[in-house]
Symmetry: C2
Subunit: 418 residues, 2 copies
């Protein structure tokens, strides 16, 4: 058995099942008697030497973490730049890893994190420090390259499809005298994956959602109004799912609320549904309701997809396996071997092929008229929301979620000046 | 066995479990060989003589309806005025009831509907038409008088508490470098019942939700900012639950989006969370996220409270029992006989005591500082969200919800001119 420590860190927006990956990592490493440290707040904790010793977590707590949404050890939105631009931070990172005898570094995140893991592995090689870096996939945005899908997406997709189906039944019941148009705002800056998942809620032109607005297609307001009106007149009501990232034909975000940027340089969005609701009300005179689920859609562990949960656990286990085998600069990815029956397996892919790439939604997933999904999209999306995996609930009617916020280990290095 | 027909209608905003009441009514009536008609779109369907013969629904569909959110037969927001003001409509109603030999009228709604049921019973008596009118309670607002709680509220309360707990875990994970303040907007025009239910998500001042804003307390922005700041500095982040109906000290709604009024004369609200998020960002500089669950909170049958579901079924069964016994102008209400262990029963209450009354939240349910709930509130609310009652899911990963939108019976009367 190799000696040394495994460091696990979470990065970027968290999901309903990223802790299932964390729990699987801890369990797989324990089975091999490898100690696991977890960085508090992702890469920041590694830089600050705020490392949590997971040996202190009883097996029951690890199991409970495995059914808890959010990021148990904290995540962060900090993107390291190139080795040249951010050399001091990469070197500090390596110094911390060395101080804690970290020989395996698992970075659980999206394409930015894959890039960081790749660069850390390059620097370690440069310094002759024996380190195996493995990226672990996670993102509700489903925009990682190579992997067929991303752990976290399936559960958010299930939340979206179920919520739209439920709200549509409400609207259908009220439409005669009240709300005629309902707008649901789905996450998705550049790709309409979650908006597309809403399409699973119904079949045919009369079932909700009646109109889906994708960031992949320019938003034509006049055409949209005409379609809303036609649906209301035909069906009695209209359920619209709008991706937060839809843009006008000249490329501006339809609703650029706040207009700030996050640490990754992404524009902060929000408010598309509110904007569309107001416009529809003014243009067509219908009573409109709208919803912005925001974080609820990515933290709804109570409605997790079993498929997604199993994939989140599998990539955690595989990441440990790859790391201990010394498979450096790889990521365990989901490979789909069959649509029907749905079959998948996990295989290693080079981080180089994933880092900083963004997978867009295939054009053939969007219906020709631009307002719905195709059969190809259904074949792809459908298996990802299959199966239920409810958390255990307490007698108080609330899910039994766990936290792992104990104090970090004592520092071995001077405080980080960064 | 008495002869005649039972007419069931749904009214006002629908809930996750009103169809459970409908299914219980149909099942209880079938067991007594009493035919059940359902009015399409509530009282409008009764006036228009759009009546659905539930005999056409297979037992399996009735069971599926029982686990379907929304209003299976359609609801409406139409309030009948006094007998003097709306005499023509009340007389038309009686004419339709008579044409279909309706001897029992069950009206499933809130306090407006209790009022309508009461007036119909008075008019029937005046005309010497043998009719028994029973109100059946329903509302996520929990504002009906006499009853200890309202079917529909417990499930919305559970949705609220679970969603706030889940989103708070997400915020906790991200707070170090991203979102520091999260605002959840809860339904509740005049009473903060659902906002209060969010309080069940945490215990003690450091657990989310950290601040709850009730419509029962005037909103003092400067004090609110100071508290948000204090929580962020102490805990690292702050989760706020705001009731849609909060008002400034001079009585204006904090966010009166749209400013329209619905058919019941209520101001349409929405956008408190968005408003507060913008204000907090400007005043304190924190990154803020917010959510407006809107209809999702009252249609989330996937997260129904078992207690609530059982009460929704029980009032349906009892309503049939009362009606067939000729107990006129009553409503089956929930009577709590013990907090711990929680025990309840159903008893009849006179519609006169319920019609047009609104139950406000007891002052002792709000903490002295105005930003949280008391132990008394917990004792009241806690049992209502207890127990899970997930719907059956299909192999496609979506709940198996049913519709009952078949064509109405052929008309026996001329078309309604109203």
């Amino acid at each position: 058995m190799p000696t040394g420590t495994l460091l696990y860190a979470q990065s970027g927006g968290v999901t309903a099942v990223i802790n299932a990956t964390a729990a699987a990592v801890i369990q797989a490493a324990r089975a091999r008697k490898v100690p696991v440290l977890a960085a508090r707040n992702g890469i920041l904790g590694a830089l600050r030497e705020e490392l949590i010793d997971t040996a202190a977590l009883p097996a029951s707590t690890v199991r409970a973490l495995g059914q808890t949404p959010g990021g148990a050890f904290g995540s962060c939105r900090v993107k390291l730049k190139s080795l040249e631009q951010d050399r001091a931070r990469y070197e500090r990172l390596l110094e911390v890893l060395r101080a804690h005898d970290v020989r395996w570094f698992l970075y659980n995140g999206g394409n930015d994190s894959a890039d960081t893991a790749l660069k850390v592995s390059q620097l370690a090689a440069e310094f002759g420090y024996p380190l195996t870096c493995v990226g672990v996939p996670k993102t509700v945005d489903n925009d990682l390259a190579v992997t067929d899908c991303c752990p976290g997406f399936g559960s958010a997709a299930k939340y979206t499809a179920v919520s739209v189906r439920e709200a549509a039944l409400d609207v259908a019941a009220m439409a005669e005298t009240s709300t005629k148009v309902f707008v649901y705002e789905a996450m998705g800056r550049h790709a309409g994956w979650l908006a597309a998942a809403a399409g699973l809620a119904g079949n045919g032109p009369d079932e909700a959602p009646h109109l889906i607005l994708f960031p992949e297609r320019p938003f034509d307001e006049a055409d949209f109004f005409a379609r809303v009106k036609a649906v209301v007149e035909r069906v009695g009501y209209c359920v619209v799912v709008a991706s937060e990232g839809i843009r006008t034909p000249d490329g501006r975000f339809v609703a650029d609320a706040g207009g700030g940027q996050d640490a990754f340089g992404h524009t902060q969005l929000g408010g598309v549904a509110s904007h569309l609701a107001g416009r529809v009300k003014d243009a067509l005179g219908y009573k409109v309701h709208w919803t912005l689920p925001d974080y609820l859609q990515r933290s709804a562990r109570h409605l997790a997809s079993r498929t997604d949960l199993e994939q989140a656990q599998a990539v955690g286990r595989k990441a440990v396996e790859y790391a201990l085998k010394g498979m450096n600069a790889v990521m365990p990815v989901i490979v789909r071997t069959s649509d029907s029956p749905y079959r998948w397996k996990v295989e290693p892919a080079p981080l180089q092929a994933i880092a900083n790439h963004e997978k867009t939604m295939p054009a053939e997933f969007i219906r020709e008229d631009g307002y719905g999904i195709t059969d190809a999209a259904r074949r792809y999306l459908q298996p990802l929301i299959r199966g239920e995996a409810p958390p255990l609930y307490g007698r108080d009617g609330l899910p039994r979620y766990a936290r792992a916020d104990q104090a970090p280990l004592p520092r071995k290095l001077p405080e980080w000046a960064g």
